[in-house]
Symmetry: C2
Amino acid sequence: MTSLQTDTNAAPSFVEPPSPESLRRVLDGRWADVRAEARDLMRSTTRPSAVGLGTQEHRDQVLRELHALRDSGLHRRGFSRDYGGLDDIGGSVTSFEMLGYGDLSLSVKAGVQWGLFGGAVQALGTKTHHERYLPAIMDLDLLGCFAMTETGHGSDVQNLRTTATYDPDRREFVVHTPDPSARKDYIGNAARDGRMAVVFAQLVTQGRGYGVHALLVPLRDDAGRPLPGITITDCGHKAGLNGVDNGRIVFDQVRVPREALLDRFASVAEDGSYSSPIESESRRFFTMLGTLVRGRVSVSGSALAATQVALTIAVRYAEQRRQFADPDTGGEVPLLDYLTHQRRLLPALARSYALHFAQSELVATLHEVQSAEHPDDARQRELESRAAGLKAAATWHATRTIQTCREACGGAGYLSVNQLPALKADTDVFTTFEGDNTVLLQLVAKGLLTSYRDHFGDLDVLGTARFVADQFVGTVIERTAARALLQRLAGARRGPDADLRDRAWHVQLFEDREKHVLDSLARRLRAAGQDGVSAFEVFTAAQDHVLRAARAHVERVVLEAFVAAVDACDDPRTAALLDRVCDLYVLSNVEEDLDWFTAHGRLTPARAKAVTRAVNDLCRELRPHARLLVDGFGIPEESITAEMLRPV
Amino acid sequence: MTSLQTDTNAAPSFVEPPSPESLRRVLDGRWADVRAEARDLMRSTTRPSAVGLGTQEHRDQVLRELHALRDSGLHRRGFSRDYGGLDDIGGSVTSFEMLGYGDLSLSVKAGVQWGLFGGAVQALGTKTHHERYLPAIMDLDLLGCFAMTETGHGSDVQNLRTTATYDPDRREFVVHTPDPSARKDYIGNAARDGRMAVVFAQLVTQGRGYGVHALLVPLRDDAGRPLPGITITDCGHKAGLNGVDNGRIVFDQVRVPREALLDRFASVAEDGSYSSPIESESRRFFTMLGTLVRGRVSVSGSALAATQVALTIAVRYAEQRRQFADPDTGGEVPLLDYLTHQRRLLPALARSYALHFAQSELVATLHEVQSAEHPDDARQRELESRAAGLKAAATWHATRTIQTCREACGGAGYLSVNQLPALKADTDVFTTFEGDNTVLLQLVAKGLLTSYRDHFGDLDVLGTARFVADQFVGTVIERTAARALLQRLAGARRGPDADLRDRAWHVQLFEDREKHVLDSLARRLRAAGQDGVSAFEVFTAAQDHVLRAARAHVERVVLEAFVAAVDACDDPRTAALLDRVCDLYVLSNVEEDLDWFTAHGRLTPARAKAVTRAVNDLCRELRPHARLLVDGFGIPEESITAEMLRPV
């Protein structure tokens, strides 16, 4: 039997597809109750539309909606029980993900207020801060900002230039913007609503700098007027998310009391002497940053939710919209019957499934790591790396897929009443905020090269290069999910003629790619710092290799999550359908990287062509189930408002 | 010498780069005077910004700007000398392209008024229509619409459902919308400003249908109220282009006089008898549509101009913005020094150059074909195919590149004051309007398969399949530009070890790809209609192959235009730089299609890897000239308003 015959004939067909509910149960996973609660909330209240609103009206509406959200209590889940929360980190991130089915301005505003601002107070502050601020933050009596990014420094947070200099005479910190490029920029809640900010600044005391620390700085009085020394400007209209009031903050020698320092990881005594349980400045900084990983996980959740909405709209439209007659029957053909259209939507849909399972697994890991009584440094670093990699993968997937959905809906997709314009515009910045994707992937690669022994987040090129030169002995694949199953699949060696839908072959292929790309990258980087070659030059020349290594790693982790989810599924019909979706995820991914697989001898030219045919076959097989697959997401009908889906 | 050594060492360096002016002269080409006039116009008047405007204010502003444009006289160029024009088709399209440096709502509004509405009256009407309407259209005394697309039919124009039934008793046509999906949709100028429309409708007379024809139908009275029987609704807010008032039109038995029919290609006598110089209904329809090819050429021009603006902004920002310190020097590194950043911007910049030269050549062909005294059917069909292919290539390039530029500028790229949001949102629909790109590429492939013998625009699957089965004997590469040079390059056969920068090898590689893909497609399509296989099934199964064939053709045509432009360049420094840019266009294109080249034995795995290295090398070589390359576009500084490019 040739491999071509295998592709087309060996596939089991779905005589009985599962119900959308059964599919939804598998997708809902561990925090199904939180999802149910969020769905009920969306169904019980009519969310106003943001279409055509001016910036001010949109901001007003989102602020009102934020209060409505507070009244629902959904936001309390992530906070400590001591202050009225539930200590349920996974549930909190999941509920935030569900907000991605609505106006993303609201979800970002909520993320700024409770996730970033409230989260920083909780994670970086101590009891005094918690008692004083957390209840007010949860209740929206205190609206706040997370003032980290500056105009001149975004990705390179370690080199922020805002200063917080301790004055022992008055027992105060003086917060100051030394030059225009050090102004805080793009800060959510700053332009209008924020009354206070967690400000990240270089801490200076007794004439010495200790690196970046966070302080609470009041911004406005009760009437909303900026306090003395504080200048706030509005970032104005943006591509999207115009319900969020982003602004710039400049500090002119602003004084705050010593207690303003969020002092969980470092404190300054009255006399100005500095102390911290963590000795290394770099390690301290990245430990502080690491506590904020929840934000990044939340962004991938939102991106995936928004992408699900776009795919639901595009698939429904493609089933309903007909164009050109079938010459054999004379009837007009639904767009989704065309291979080109299937090719645009179905691999993206399969990838949405894959990323959803990877996200669910990441949320569970986050929950366990951050709920543990004793912090586990290695697990925390691995978590940060996973979060960074998945954030990049999920947000690029959103950008690309929502664009495709817009195009697949033609002119109708360009009208704001059909939702796609806002989905596109609002998610566009997700690839940038909470870490630029390109930078994040470099951090992922660095984590892999150093086996997470080093601190995550530091892009010290020379250090990485030296570490690689000294210690890297080859990639070890650390399986993340369903370890026993994956062990078995990876162990059952498959020859070059394995069935293209053989899961063991898939797992081996992805592991092998990751290992090869990473090992060859390590060899390249060893040259850095040797024989007078500049470390920077070596690293820069290898940068595309670095990104490829990170991508290969992320794809492998995503595949493992998908395999584990199918394995854990106890309804055979659902499992059979998911199995096929997983095939499409794998093979369309292989197809996108076909040049690598053939150039590196992993696929013969003939087999590479067979991959393309197999993707076409899978598109045809899954086409009848496309509607079921989007319905399985369980997006409340209230969130699908696109007018074009209603009869004219 | 190994091929790797060839890549990196054999490249000539530019000791003396050309001046931006010299580069601009080459880019400006044949209609340099029109470009100069347009630049002067942009420099002499301050264009108001559209940032943050509400829909109504934006529409008002664009209408005012349209009047200012009229006062400049720039729009007259494309009209007949008999009515105050210059009969300069190429100049007209070029001036429209230059409008792409400003607010794209204005350029689309101008395109609707003078290009589509005025163009249809000129091309489809006769002297009576011209005398009566053209002066008023040019002077904006009559604002109009081009009412072709319906809610239910966009790509499949032949099956529009609006009817124009002739009533011989009253010597009138009755224009009617038979059902809701037949309403005219997305029509520019309809929601507010248009007073009249060219309406495309199924002409019925003496009880028989004659296919789609165009009629002039008044929409509103002088006060702007819709006339009896006409219902107009507003498409409302859109993803972009909100300065254009798109609307929907429903006709309820609306009567217009017999003379309303634009009767260049068909007329109805008083008694209702139909006559046309073109017998075949399908041929007549596509002849009518063919006269409107200018619109499609103008869209690619706008897309390319907007992309040049985005690249100029992103390259300047990447030279100015620094992030992370070089460990060897301690200084912060400009973004453009990073390979990842070069990889994002420079291949896109090279492609912008390539597409610009292809566009210039297309405009020249359009000018010649449409200025010729005697129509040449074959040349017209080839022109339509080229226009369709380049429209798809240019608009997808715009969508992808402007997205990349936004991401490459990080958070700053998301702020409306930095121009990229509007560039992205406004150009997004370009892949859809004036023909959906996916449909256009299928038409291109059909033209190639039938050697343009058939009428362009008709997607009759069965007919194409039968034609291919009967007559296709293999692809003949028809070179479009610099024929002698290309003949020579294609003839100088290169072995598999040719230098990666050998232009002869490039030309052969692109020609070979086109030929192979098209020949194998023809073989597949032969199966259609044979042995009971459904033509539709065969065609659908081959759809990705069809798109690939069209793409391979377009890339070859674009390369030829680039090669011809370099060949014609008489300044050696400019030619040397353009040569390198052409290398990057070719090799980054090969890299994107590497799986095809390796799977089909055109590149060995080792050579495939060398291609990637060569792209990296070219990025490094061209990086110092990136600013020069964007300055060469000659975009007036007044059009680059991005605030982030000014010191904070």
